[in-house]
Symmetry: C2
Subunit: 416 residues, 2 copies
């Protein structure tokens, strides 16, 4: 790593604005709240700026855990086999305790997307599973919005080289940094005001969709002709969310999507992907699937087909949908033309669907529903949640009501 | 920070040997043990090497927490007043749980010794107190040797500049690195064998002292004429220690001392310090104190006298001794002639005494004693434990037995 030259490459004023947006828009940190942060070591400059802005906003105590590609790879190369069924449960239990005490949570994304590409896939799978199980008590407090949380990105050199392989490292970092700044709206004079306006626009869309109460969305485009039934009592969300501690946060920066829960048993037709998907160090491209009764009964891919079929075999819910999201083709991230190999960005460049687990908050009064009630309304369950992109400027979307009446939702990738 | 240039300055082969010594001598890590490490960010290169060697030794999982001077100073500059009574209790409770699960503990020292010199002393004191109280459950598992543990050092740039203010940063780092390598015996061909021999030498000294059963040590030298009574049933220790998990570790690298518990009520005479002491960002030099019945009744210093007297007023035990330690003047650290401003080094360059808390392990069968029993035997209690140096090549030490017979222990700073 080389922190000096990264800093020289990355616009310091915009990086500081990104830190400010993380604290004031992403977390909307309240005075007296503690903050638990995680970040790759490459993101030290952003961690330092966020920490300063958090204390200026009245943070009680900021605690940061760093991940390190070098030590992670040491584990894969040198640790005994039994290591791959271990996880730091004592640390995650501690984090869960911090969240129970109203600490906010910030994750800085930006790890090398291909970090584990050369490692034994079964060790990767075992380590991921052990970690997911240990992390569950802390993750549930986050995904159930017990507290305000946010994910933001830093242009890690290894990630930048993956996105811009044809450029030198410094130039790649600079271009990725600028793309992150633009997508996060920190290239504007008043990013906080821009986010207020953006949140209002997303709320307008989700409010309209919630009012229409479509029972299905019909997607039509090249290689795509599918009707995606929506779950009973589904609710559309997008932009900011109010956590149970009363704080309204923007959990993802950037975010361009409005999204809801499809009906796990009511998806029929053909879908083709419009962008490649980076999954655990493998690229999956040219996906074509056939749905019958909500279930994928045929799946092909021009690249990574074997991995795709392994993913679909994870469990019964892996062949069914847990999310459908609408993003206009003119979204700033899409307009950049960049493939980020990072779901936080790529899913916000295109309409997408997700295989696997649904979000309980995408139901009316979702926080009070039991798992059985969610299932009865059509909510899908799975160990996975993998978003893939199906939108483009050639895709039309219609909203279909229970009575069969139809309203255009998008035309040629834009809101109708 | 600038990691590239530090690495260019520090001998990579010796740094790797230091990592190996930390794992094989310091911790004697056993296959399957997890490791919890703490380090300043500047020590990333050493953390990575130690992690690799730990996994090669069969570590289950290595988890590292980094401290950062930049974010610590942000807290002092920007955090609200209430922040200074807070600590990450949830993290320390988690660490205590890891130790209860037999995880080993490694601390990399090397923070800037003057980091907090410019900050409000009352905020520093409050933050230290909150942290000490939160850390107590984890620290007790370490100081009671529930598990194997080790402290080792890395030549942080800010520390190097403090030790060698007249040198440029790169040259200062290189010189401090070489001093750490020499003191840690990693400049030798076979450091592990050298540590085996060194541990045997220290054991020979402590075995001899334990056999003599002196009731007091009499120190005589320039400005020093003191009789330090030893606690009833005191036991001398030095070098390696066997933890309750059965693993024999070297908790301090370097270490040159043999040490035991003085009697809190039986110290009489005058003592003068022979080296300056760096305490929480303040230098205290030219200390002269008078003991009566174990208690310091007069204290002067040519530098830092006000801070010294504040320290002595911490609690009743702060005016009494908790440790007496013997280090020959020819010890390699002393021979280097370097003042390290770091107790891990400076206390191993000279005979020293410590104000405050005693070590329960420095009693026969110490692990089974209650606090009342330790007090009855003459063991001191305090919130502080501050070592200061009283040895030189002009100091003689005699061992005095209960019957009044005397045996020379050191002459002109060397074992007699
Ligand atoms: Zn989405
Ligand atoms: Zn998703
Ligand atoms: Zn000592
Ligand atoms: Zn000591």
């Amino acid at each position: 790593m080389n922190i000096h030259s990264d800093i020289a490459t990355i616009d310091p004023k915009k990086l500081e604005k990104l830190a400010e947006v993380a604290v004031k828009v992403g977390l909307r940190l309240e005075a007296g709240q503690d903050l638990v942060m995680t970040a790759p070591l490459a993101a030290i400059p952003l961690v330092r700026l966020i920490t300063r802005h958090a204390y200026m906003a009245g943070a009680g105590l900021v605690t940061t855990f760093y991940s390190d590609e070098d030590t992670t790879l040491s584990r894969y190369r040198h640790a005994p086999d039994a290591s791959f069924d271990k996880a730091s449960g004592w640390l995650y239990e501690g984090m869960a305790k911090a969240f129970a005490g109203n600490a906010a949570r910030l994750a800085i994304a930006g790890d090398n997307p291909m970090m584990l590409a050369g490692q034994d896939p079964s060790k990767v799978a075992r380590a991921n599973k052990a970690n997911s199980m240990a992390y569950k008590p802390a993750l549930e407090k986050i995904s159930n919005f017990d507290i305000n949380w946010n994910i933001i990105s830093y242009p890690n050199p290894a990630w930048a080289k993956q996105v811009f392989p044809e450029l030198g490292e410094q130039e790649a970092i600079r271009k990725l940094a600028d793309a992150i700044f633009a997508a996060s709206r920190v290239d504007l004079d008043d990013p906080v005001a821009a986010w207020t306006e953006h949140n209002a626009n997303l709320r307008k869309r989700s409010t309209w969709l919630n009012g229409e109460r479509f029972s299905a969305l019909k997607f039509t485009g090249p290689g795509t002709d599918v009707t995606i039934g929506l779950a009973d009592d589904h609710e559309w969300h997008g932009g900011e969310s109010t956590a149970k501690n009363g704080i309204t946060c923007n959990p993802n920066i950037p975010t361009e999507e409005v999204f809801t829960t499809p009906h796990a048993l009511k998806v029929d037709g053909y879908v083709s992907s419009t962008k490649p998907l980076s999954h655990q160090g493998t690229l999956i491209d040219g996906i074509q699937v056939k749905f019958e009764g909500g279930r994928i009964v045929e799946a092909k891919a021009t690249k990574g087909e074997e991995v795709l079929n392994k993913v679909l075999d994870t469990d019964e819910g892996a062949r069914r949908l847990g999310e459908v999201a609408l993003v206009p083709h003119s979204s700033p991230i899409s307009a950049s033309g960049i493939l980020f190999y990072n779901t936080l960005f790529d899913e916000n460049a295109s309409c997408h669907i997700a295989l696997g687990q649904c979000y309980s908050k995408c139901f009316l009064d979702g926080a009070s529903l039991t798992q059985d009630q969610i299932t009865a309304k059509g909510g899908n369950s799975s160990l996975i949640h993998i978003d893939w992109m199906i939108g483009s400027d050639k895709v039309d979307i219609d909203g279909v009501r229970a009575d069969g009446s139809v309203t255009p939702v998008m035309r040629k990738g834009e809101w109708a």
